[in-house]
Every structure is written in structure tokens, then in C-alpha cells.
């Protein structure tokens, strides 16, 4: 992707008032990190640690209550949710085309260009033959692919993914992990991938950020071969990365390492 901006977060914090209490809930505190253009980062942490909130901040769906971050326009962002979040009454094709059609009001894409992009995105996720199907006729993995295609059709320089494959069975997840790697290698968007799976983080990303209790706990670089194959699961580097992430997650010491 061209023109992908670097994302930088500076002492970012997010807190919100608690219902029926004076005290505030602190969801995120003092997050300082940068995401270079074209990088692939995994955000790892236990449930409720704030990793999804961080992703929503990056997408502009939430505003930080502290600190600042580089400005991103929402048209630069593709977002994949944990659930497929498809419109049940629209076909696969129409679901993928919808954000382009909506944005068309401002961007003025030609109908033909929208069609090209939708078909290209559907081909990328291997669903070109199911364009006319309705979501309910698809399996869970296929619905997730539609959701991914919808994000990709925008050709976003930044792809934010919130535990997208967490609800799928392991084999489907492995396949989608490989597909995502392939898409990343071909198009080089900046990917920020939230997961609670240590192995998925180590398998996919170049770097894992471990988040615990709302703060950035550790940054772990994942050494990987230039060319990705699924053999990586057997490589010593993969196991080393898994061990490092697991250790950071279990580390009794609080705060940034």
C-alpha cells in the first residue's frame, strides 16, 4: 500500500466514569508506542486488559482522555471485528461493497471501480464464487472472510483487527492466519492485530506488544524468515517468541519492562 502513515501514540490514556461511583475506571494508561508503515504488530493480553479499547482508539471509535496520537482519517482504516458483523439482508457482494458505496458520497468512486475492488477483495479471501450468497448461507469461517474482504476492499493503508478469528475452530483459524500473512506480504498494509492467543501472535506478527491491566507491559520482536511458510510453526524462533510472550504475560512484575 502506498502512503501508509506511521501511527504514533504518546502517553495515551483512557478512563471513563463508573456507574454509581465517584471513581473512574482506567482502561488504558500511559501507552507510548509507534507503528511504522507496513508493520505487522500483535497486541496480546488477557481479556479485559484494554487491548480492544486501544484498537478502538486507533480507529477513532473512542477518543483518548489523556495524551495524544497521530491523526488518522477513518477512510485510511479497515476494521475487522471479532464477529463478522454483516448485514443479514444483503448478499456477500453487497456487504463488501457497502462501505465503498457509502464513502462514494465523498470519494466519488465510479461504479465500475467499486465493482473491481469488491471482486478483487472477494478473490483475495477466496470467496469469488459466493458473491451472491446471503450471510446465513455461509459457515462461520466464510462469514469472517467476508468481513475481512469488506475491510480490504477499501484498500486501507491501516488494517485493525480485533480478535477476528477467535471464534473459529483451530483449523479454520490456521488457514485464515496464513491467508492474512499472504495478503500482508502482497499489499503491506500496517496491521495491528489484537489476540489473546500467544501462538497466533507469534505466528503472525513481526512484533508483539503485551498489554496488562491497561498498560504496555513488554515489546517482543519476533525473528522470522523473510519468506513465510507454515513451517514456521516448527521453527525454534517461533517457540522462542511464544516463550517470550508467555513469560511477559505471566511476569509478576508490573509496569513496562
Amino acid at each position: 500500500m502506498t502512503g501508509a502513515p506511521e501511527l504514533a501514540l504518546n502517553n495515551l490514556g483512557l478512563s471513563y466514569p463508573q456507574r454509581g461511583s465517584e471513581a473512574e475506571v482506567v482502561a488504558l494508561r500511559d501507552i507510548t508506542a509507534s507503528f511504522p508503515a507496513g508493520s505487522f504488530t500483535a497486541l496480546v493480553g488477557p481479556s479485559g486488559c484494554g487491548k480492544s479499547s486501544l484498537l478502538r482508539l486507533l480507529a477513532g471509535l473512542l477518543s483518548p482522555t489523556q495524551g495524544d496520537m497521530s491523526a488518522v482519517t477513518q477512510s485510511d482504516i479497515g476494521f475487522v471485528f471479532q464477529e463478522p458483523t454483516l448485514l443479514a439482508w444483503r448478499s456477500v457482494y453487497e456487504n463488501v461493497a457497502l462501505p465503498l458505496k457509502i464513502a462514494n458520497r465523498k470519494s466519488g468512486l465510479r461504479a465500475q471501480e467499486i465493482d473491481t475492488r469488491v471482486r478483487e477483495a472477494l478473490t483475495l479471501v477466496g470467496l469469488e464464487t459466493r458473491a451472491k450468497a446471503l450471510p446465513r448461507e455461509l459457515s462461520g469461517g466464510m462469514k469472517m472472510r467476508v468481513s475481512l474482504a469488506r475491510a480490504l476492499a477499501k484498500r486501507p493503508p491501516i488494517l485493525l483487527m480485533d480478535e477476528p478469528f477467535a471464534a473459529l475452530d483451530e483449523l479454520t483459524r490456521f488457514r485464515l492466519d496464513d491467508d492474512l500473512r499472504a495478503i500482508w506480504q502482497r499489499q503491506k498494509p500496517t496491521i495491528i492485530f489484537v489476540t489473546h492467543s500467544v501462538t497466533e501472535a507469534a505466528y503472525l506478527a513481526e512484533r508483539a506488544l503485551v498489554i496488562r491491566a491497561g498498560s504496555l507491559h513488554a515489546e517482543i520482536k519476533i525473528e522470522r524468515p523473510k519468506k513465510h511458510t507454515d513451517n514456521f510453526r516448527a521453527a525454534p524462533n517461533f517457540h522462542a517468541a511464544c516463550a517470550a510472550i508467555s513469560q511477559a504475560l505471566a511476569d509478576p512484575k508490573e509496569g513496562t519492562s
Binding site: A59, L87, R105, R150
Partner: protein
């Protein structure tokens, strides 16, 4: 085939009931002005066909107009309520007041205010008051029950408020709106009959008026014939809306999913 035969059961029950009715009236010799047999009702229907059809048309027109305005006003108000919390807060108590006050009690006022020169208009307004509330509440509930993450999808796409409404909220609210429409349709007919009863006489000559007239003249068979037409109208309305629901929702909504 079996499903089709099962569908015939209610029809069989109906025919059997009519047979028992006919037979018992003849056996017990109940006077015809108390309980006419089905055959006499059939005769009354044929004899008064033109008048009854005219009356059916009057009632149908009032019902349809009241239903139409219930749909339009219910949906419009629902859209306003879901967009502007303040307006909902300000108006909702009055909408509820209008709904809970018995319409029979308001009807004379409406007849005086708008019914002088145009009784039909008054009748439509009375029927509309009865019909519109379920449409409003169901549409509000439907518009509110959209998945929050789908709203996020719209936000990320940069949707304007009407794009959000058109692409997401209205289709998502369709099942609830159709449920509301089904209830409103039935109530519009009830409202039309109540309105005709209250108006009593004059320019309005719908089926309810025929019922009063036939009752006064002790033409009970004609009364039953008018009653049967009213029921038929209600049933036709209900099944028309059920058919519409099926046509609109069957492809994607879970309630029409075939069980595996």
C-alpha cells in the same frame, strides 16, 4: 401433502360447526330473530349483497386510510424519537396519554371538531388513534435494536445519518415494524367499527352502521351477514400482512430459517 391436509383441519372444523348450528336451530325451533341458521344468513347476504358490499367498501376505506396514516405517522415519529432523545422525552407521555384514554370517550369531541362537515375524516382520525401506537412502539424498538458493532461499521465507512438509517436501521427494524403493522392493521379495523358505532348515523354507512341498523330492525340474519363480512375483512388484512412479512423477510431473517 401432509402439511396441506393439516391446513384443511380448521376448514373441516368450521363446516362441522356450521352444520351443528343449522341442525340445532331447526331442531330446537329457536325464533329466527334470536338465532338465524347459517342458511338464512347466507340468504340475507345474497339478498342484501349490493348494500352490504357498499358498506364493506366504506369500512374498508376508513380502515385502510387509518392504517396508512398509522404506518406513516408511527414510522415518522419513531425515526424522530430515535434521533432526538429530547423530543421523545417531551412528547412520549402525551402519546401514551392519547393511547390509554379510551377512544370511545374522545370520539364525540373529534366528531364535533372535525366531523361536522366531513364525518369520514372524523372516523379515520378515531380509527387512527386506536391503530397507531403499536406501530410507533414496535418501530422505535426495532430502530433501537441494531447491533452496536454494525453502527461501528457505518461510522468507519463515514455514513451520514440518512445512510445509516437507509442501509442499516430501517432494514434491521423491518421485522419489528412488520409485527407492529400486523397489530396496527387489526386495530385499524376495530377503530373503524368503534368510530362508526360512536358516529351512530348520518353520512356513515359502513358495516358497523349496518349492524346497528339490522339490530334495531331485528333483522338478525343481516346482522350476522355484516358481522361475517367484518371478520372476513379482518382475516384478509391479517393474512395480507403475514404474506408481506414472509415475502420481505423469508430470505434472510432467522424466524423463517428452515430447521435442519
Amino acid at each position: 401433502m401432509r402439511a396441506f391436509l393439516l391446513r384443511l383441519i380448521p376448514l373441516g372444523v368450521g363446516i362441522a360447526m356450521l352444520g351443528i348450528w343449522e341442525l340445532s336451530v331447526h331442531l330446537t325451533q329457536v325464533p329466527i330473530f334470536v338465532l338465524p341458521p347459517p342458511s338464512a344468513i347466507g340468504h340475507a347476504l345474497v339478498d342484501n349483497f349490493a348494500t352490504l358490499m357498499g358498506s364493506l367498501w366504506v369500512t374498508l376505506r376508513i380502515t385502510a386510510l387509518a392504517f396508512f396514516w398509522a404506518l406513516v405517522s408511527g414510522l415518522a415519529l419513531a425515526i424522530i424519537f430515535t434521533r432526538a432523545r429530547l423530543i421523545e422525552l417531551a412528547l412520549y407521555p402525551y402519546v401514551v396519554t392519547l393511547q390509554v384514554t379510551p377512544v370511545v370517550a374522545i370520539a364525540p369531541l373529534i366528531l364535533i371538531w372535525v366531523g361536522f362537515d366531513n364525518v369520514d375524516r372524523a372516523l379515520v382520525i378515531i380509527a387512527w388513534i386506536v391503530a397507531f401506537f403499536p406501530m410507533l412502539t414496535n418501530a422505535v424498538q426495532g430502530l433501537r435494536s441494531t447491533e452496536p458493532q454494525l453502527h461501528d461499521v457505518m461510522t468507519l465507512a463515514g455514513a451520514s445519518w440518512w445512510q445509516r438509517l437507509y442501509y442499516l436501521e430501517l432494514p434491521a427494524a423491518l421485522p419489528a415494524m412488520l409485527t407492529g403493522a400486523k397489530i396496527s392493521g387489526g386495530l385499524a379495523l376495530i377503530g373503524a367499527v368503534v368510530a362508526e358505532f360512536v358516529a351512530g348515523s348520518g353520512a356513515s354507512t359502513g358495516l358497523a352502521w349496518r349492524i346497528i341498523e339490522a339490530g334495531n330492525r331485528l333483522e338478525i340474519a343481516t346482522l350476522f351477514a355484516a358481522l361475517a363480512l367484518l371478520s372476513a375483512l379482518g382475516i384478509a388484512l391479517f393474512y395480507a400482512l403475514t404474506l408481506l412479512e414472509w415475502l420481505v423477510l423469508r430470505r434472510w431473517h432467522d424466524s423463517f430459517a428452515k430447521s435442519p
